[in-house]
Symmetry: C2
Subunit: 318 residues, 2 copies
């Protein structure tokens, strides 16, 4: 019996989870991941891994899931393809370091199948509390190099898609310094009503499912080299109560994005997903201060300016 | 020139804001409210008052607004009546005490006008971190007595409406011990597509706009006597780090409700409302711990049980 693309994708996501959690445990040095294996009443299940109150990470979640069954009407209306039968498998991670000098990061790779149609999606984005241009440049350059191995059109397209997706309209503010975001790769899927459209037409290569699986594996493998060097540069830096407070206010924005706009979160909660696995993305602690605004000329104000700039970080001089 | 019902309602809401903020400042004893008067580009404006880091209140917001103009398509589809011209005036408050022994509380009274149609809405609900049955009973009895001066059907109907509204479906959990919630009073309004329906048919008295203005004034006036005696009973009680932590986790649920489900918040953010005034409802600090569950038999577990009970608090033996 030959393994299907979904089977092979699921196997890759599981193996990637093992590799990433092992590396993050080594980086943390104090705490281990706790694993909760769960099954979904409608079919399938997952492994949620959370590391809490570590030396480096205040809260880190790295989840895989592989679920299947019948789409509810809400999901059916929002996804390409026909019929109710679906299978969705993927890895999703959000890391909240304790130090405000170390950026929060999110990454996700997934494979969705509906009826005869299937596609890959995912991305990764960096949310620093203090933007260090060289760090943002390292993150973006790693992703750009990864993308360019597959299609020269990918990086600029997926960076713009990321900038458009990880954005808080009510604040007029991006979530962080971005990264890449992509969806419907390998499907030849038309854009679906109710979904944010990709910012420009896709390239022909995107309809090749095997090529897109190779691309998604490459993105998954790029996560650790994109993020860990930034951690190693910043983790030793001292930080103050004032910087911690700024971090907590910025984490409040992260909560706003995830609960109001993030498709995975909103759909998950509205379609009886496993609440604790979905909300592992929320920070361990966050603050909301009325009309909070950084002092003009402060490092906090500089960070907001850098975040709002939508800069071409990958082209920054090293 | 005779004042319209909307004018008279706005004048009452302004006067109520003065009375409530004066009483809360006296209760706090350490901090005063800061006022931001703002104007809305499309028409009207408001006065946002926030007290932060007080002796009693970690964050307290008491806002009035009186806005008018043209409804956007999203709001037009969600409200009864015809045409685009609207005026909305109201008072909204959320108080987050520092002590986990003192409940968080929300209250809102409002008047909406669309074309020839207008109606009142509002309510108040209590969110204790540790449920003290006598306190929940006091809150509900005050509201029940207030309601019964106007219509014997109001309290049971509006309590059930509150229980249905302040509920987190993804947690299967009410926000707190409830209170009252009502809408479309004085409009003779049919229930609108996309809106949560009232739990049972309305009483004939509800189409009398003047009578409903009198009711809403009575609800507004009942807020301080419903809430402040609970504060006075609980503010002197000692609390521990463990209780503070539980409060922060429960406040995370408050954030989830407001950002995912609260109609005022979601509509406000999607229709270019004043962000800082809308989000003053969010707690100053909140926590999300993975798979947090209170120890069986603990006071925290007892509170969850009490919150989930949807009890008839007003009928509790004193």
């Amino acid at each position: 019996m030959t393994a299907t693309l979904a089977d092979r994708a699921a196997a890759y996501f599981n193996e990637l989870q093992d590799r990433i959690t092992a590396a993050l445990e080594r980086a943390d040095g104090a705490q281990r991941f706790r694993e909760d294996a769960w099954t979904r009443p409608g079919g399938g299940g997952g492994r949620t891994r959370v590391l809490a109150e570590g030396a480096l990470f205040e809260k880190a979640g790295v989840n895989v899931s592989d679920v299947h069954g019948e789409l509810g009407p809400e999901m059916a209306a929002a996804l390409p393809g026909d019929g109710r039968a679906f299978r969705a498998t993927g890895l999703s991670l959000v890391l909240h370091p304790r130090s405000p000098r170390v950026p929060t990061v999110h990454a996700n790779v997934r494979h969705i199948q509906r009826g005869a149609r299937s596609w890959f999606g995912g991305g990764t984005d960096l949310t620093p509390y203090y933007v260090v241009p060289a760090d943002a440049a390292h993150f973006h350059r790693t992703l750009k190099t990864t993308c360019e191995r597959h299609d020269p059109a990918f990086y600029p397209r997926f960076k713009r898609w990321c900038d458009a997706y990880f954005f808080l309209p009510h604040r007029g503010e991006p979530r962080g310094v971005g990264g890449i975001f992509f969806d419907y790769l390998g499907a030849g899927a038309e854009v679906v009503a109710g979904q944010p459209p990709p910012p420009e037409p896709s390239s022909p290569r995107e309809s090749d499912a095997e090529a897109m699986f190779a691309f998604v594996r490459d993105v998954g493998d790029a996560f650790l080299p994109a993020y860990l060097p930034i951690v190693e540069r910043r983790r030793g830096e001292a930080w103050s109560h004032r910087q911690r407070r700024w971090q907590l206010v910025r984490r409040g924005r992260y909560v706003e994005f995830n609960l109001i706009y993030d498709r995975g979160t909103v759909f998950g909660l509205r379609t009886d997903g496993r609440v604790e696995s979905i909300l592992m993305s929320l920070p361990p602690e966050a603050r909301w201060e009325y009309a909070h605004a950084p002092e003009p000329g402060s490092p906090e104000a500089a960070t907001l300016d850098a975040i709002r700039s939508h800069r071409d970080w990958a082209s920054l001089e090293a």
